[in-house]
């Protein structure tokens, strides 16, 4: 199970990173979202994977680690804000520069490489 989880996280982050390397703004934003999924999963797993251990304390039991959950919870919301900001930047860039290339000018990808 752990290995499965780890592989999934890896694939997610790989895909997200690949998209963030694209040349147009929208794929980059999508990539960021994907990446933040991966990161949240990763952080969440810091406390170990527990089944049926929801941390609602009522009598002793083996609980999951609540701290990563709390941190990830806020991370999810902040992640949304971050995505929103990136998106607006992308729109602003298109509005002001007339295209949606991350560098603000078209057809420069190969110059960049």
């Amino acid at each position: 199970m752990e290995s499965l989880y780890a592989v999934t996280t890896g694939v997610l982050s790989a895909c997200g990173l690949f998209l963030t390397l694209r040349g147009r703004t929208f794929p980059v934003v999508v990539g960021l979202t994907l990446l933040s999924y991966a990161v949240n999963l990763f952080l969440f797993s810091m406390g170990g994977l527990t089944t049926d251990g929801a941390v609602i304390v009522d009598g002793p039991s083996d609980y999951a680690d609540p701290l990563p959950q709390a941190l990830v919870l806020t991370a999810i919301v902040i992640g949304f804000a971050m995505t929103a900001f990136a998106v607006i930047l992308a729109m602003r860039a298109r509005g002001d520069l007339g295209n949606d290339h991350v560098d603000g000018e078209d057809n420069r990808e190969d110059r960049a490489s």
Partner: protein
């Protein structure tokens, strides 16, 4: 008996999910994919209910409730996008 039933219906649901994925992949048109996604959401309600039964807890009930209540909104958004382009106008 209950466990077997649980597993049977779980398998069925999983199969359903697989079918959704199939439709999502092949399309052919946007509405098809959208339909597949929406169905996936609905099916995941079943998954959560089964999880609750399996773990014998109601902790996850609200998750199911939330999907039932909000899940369709993203579908609606995409529909509105396909229809009007501008979803909040």
């Amino acid at each position: 008996m209950l466990d077997t039933a649980l597993w049977i219906s779980l398998t069925l649901v999983l199969a359903a999910l697989a079918l959704n994925v199939y439709r999502l992949t092949v399309g052919p048109d946007m509405p098809d994919r959208l339909l597949a996604l929406d169905t996936m959401y609905v099916n995941s309600i079943a998954l959560i209910v089964l999880l609750g039964l399996w773990l014998n807890t109601k902790t996850y009930f609200e998750a199911a409730l939330l999907i039932a209540m909000l899940g369709f909104i993203s579908t609606v958004a995409v529909c509105k996008y396909l229809l009007r382009g501008d979803i909040i106008e």
